[in-house]
């Protein structure tokens, strides 16, 4: 199966092409607000390096966030539209799941966090048992200090992954000390190769030839919606 995978939820845009379960090309580029200019050329380059064309694709996988709203929409719209034109299935995977999958080999507790700006992070907690990733706490938006309290409830060591933790590492260390370890920099953003591996079973199970429509996971409501809710209270 020939699969194109990409994630645009963070300032790192990552694109990969997989053929029959193997990653044959992967490109990642760091830069804020560059997704529109870079994503399609990166897809084109990855397909060329993989030696296939867009017409050969049999499935699309996309990171659905949570993360940067505008960048996320560029990725998800691109994925939905490729699925629509090619008439192939599309699968959305949480960008926090992708982060956790990148360091799942370590086993045990894994906390993933993506910087949500405004001194908050999008976070989720996972437990890897015998190679299987289970979700303990699903994605939610939270202040770093409160997240540290949440994590303090667990006695085991926790591996932290994602730019939400690189931004607030000292907050975590102050509360959790050496019970937490920060993943090394190459794992700090959602990699399209990890996404490929996570999405492959769902793509194989999907009905071939049927396009899909994937929705981003925003977690946060638009500001105006929150404002109206407050006014009504």
């Amino acid at each position: 199966m020939k699969v194109l995978a990409f994630d645009t939820a963070t300032p790192v845009t990552s694109v990969a092409v997989g053929i029959d379960g193997a990653v044959v090309a992967e490109i990642s580029i760091t830069g804020d607000k560059v997704q529109m200019e870079r994503l399609m050329p990166m897809i084109d380059a990855a397909l060329r390096e993989a030696g296939i064309t867009v017409r050969d694709l049999e499935g699309i996988a996309v990171g659905v966030g949570p993360g940067l709203f505008t960048a996320l929409r560029i990725g998800v719209t691109t994925a939905n539209t490729l699925s629509q034109v090619l008439r192939v299935p599309v699968v959305g995977v949480s960008s926090l799941d992708i982060l956790a999958a990148g360091i799942a080999y370590r086993g045990g507790l894994i906390a993933a966090a993506i910087d949500a700006r405004r001194r908050e992070v999008f976070a989720a907690l996972y437990c890897v048992t015998e190679g299987v990733i289970g979700i303990i706490a699903p994605e939610h938006v939270i202040e770093p200090g409160t997240l540290a309290e949440e994590l303090a409830a667990y006695d085991e060591p926790i591996a932290m992954v994602g730019d939400g933790f690189s931004a607030y590492c000292s907050v975590m260390r102050d509360r959790l000390e050496n019970r937490v370890t920060l993943a090394s920099p190459e794992f700090m953003y959602p990699r399209a190769s990890s996404l490929l591996m996570l999405a492959e079973p769902a793509l194989r199970a999907a009905v071939p030839g049927v396009p899909g429509l994937v929705a981003p996971v925003y977690v946060r409501q638009p500001d105006a919606v929150e404002l109206i809710k407050k006014m009504r209270r």
Binding site: E37, V76, T77, A215, I228
Partner: protein, 335 residues
């Protein structure tokens, strides 16, 4: 050649199939107006989210209505600006994915120029030179198009756009959203002579507009009556407000037509649907023997048919964009 047009610059998600820039095979417009009504105006983040949900079904429907498939599409034309950046990016992302997969040209269209283009789409006999009055929720622009079709901006609003002023006044008066059609409706029932409001910059010999002073005048008028415990004559106030807006627009448009010696005036943009404006400009133009074109209501509103149609002209000139292109929220009508 069939061109697929994509338009997502504000609160309408639209896709259209146009043949040879002239025959509209389909023009699907999904309005988000009900989603923005609780806020009394377009909320950019809400608009962007809705565009993402709607863009693929709307494109699918535009193909089905035209009775064609993706394989029949010869080029993709998409609005690159001006507009809400988050909204524009959804349309451009979709358009890029289609053009890349089909391996056909991608055309980045100026939304404002496309509004003017809507007049040519409906009246193939229309020829420049002409003066264009472009009035919408985001713009109030007076422009001249020379014989070759080149547009030059003569003047624009220094503060609020026409549609913006209508929405703000409507919100202030507690009228239904969107405010334009509602004020237009009430104005037809009222007497403009009973509420005289200032005609800003009507005597200035340039083509600039200003609407914020008028807005303040309405606010002052209402608070004065409220203090006196009097009822607000909504219909007369709507008529007075609308007359003040229209008088300036008509006067400046007619002056431009005279200065540039044109025999055609075109109206364009969402506010071009305003019955009061259409009637007043028609009357003034008729008096001078000038022909006024105004699009039908479907082509006044934001729509992808005008994008596909103008895209065909761009393509003939070789004006295409590539996969590195970006949207431009502040793209001007003419540079």
């Amino acid at each position: 050649m069939l061109i697929l047009g994509v338009e997502t610059s504000c609160d309408e998600t639209s896709a259209s199939v146009v043949e040879d820039g002239a025959i509209v095979r389909s023009n699907v417009i999904s309005s988000q107006v009900e989603f923005h009504r609780p806020y009394g105006g377009v909320v950019p983040e809400v608009a962007s989210r809705k565009h993402l949900e709607l863009i693929n079904p709307v494109i699918e429907e535009s193909l089905a209505e035209a009775g064609v498939g993706f394989e029949d599409i010869g080029a993709v034309a998409v609005t690159i600006g001006p507009g809400l950046i988050g909204a524009l990016l959804v349309g451009l992302a979709a358009a890029k994915a289609i053009a890349y997969t089909l391996d056909v040209p991608l055309i980045g269209v100026n939304h404002l120029e496309a509004h003017i283009r809507a007049n040519f789409l409906e009246d193939p006999a229309l020829r420049p030179p002409l003066v264009a009055l472009l009035v919408s929720g985001g713009h109030t622009i007076l422009a001249v198009m020379d014989e070759s079709g080149r547009l030059t901006t003569l003047g624009e609003t220094l503060d609020d756009a026409a549609g913006e002023a209508y929405d703000k006044i409507a919100r202030f008066l507690g009228l239904a959203y969107p405010g334009g059609p509602e004020i237009d409706r009430l104005a037809a029932l009222g007497d403009a002579k009973k509420v005289i409001l200032p005609r800003a910059m009507i005597d200035r010999d340039d083509y600039a507009f200003s609407l914020s002073g008028l807005k303040t005048a309405v606010l002052n008028y209402v608070s004065k009556l409220e203090k006196q415990g009097q009822e607000i004559p909504l219909n007369d106030l709507a008529a007075g407000f609308q007359a003040a807006v229209i008088d300036v627009q008509v006067a400046k448009t007619m002056r431009a037509a005279k200065e540039y010696g044109v025999k055609n005036i075109v109206l364009a943009g969402g506010v071009a649907a305003n019955a009061g404006l259409r009637a007043a400009l028609k009357e003034a133009a008729d008096e001078k023997g000038i022909k006024l074109n105004a699009p039908t209501l479907e082509l006044c509103t934001d729509n992808a048919a005008m994008i596909a149609s103008l895209g065909y002209e761009y393509l003939k000139e070789g004006k295409t964009i590539d996969m590195t292109a970006n949207s431009d929220a502040n793209l001007p009508l003419s540079s």
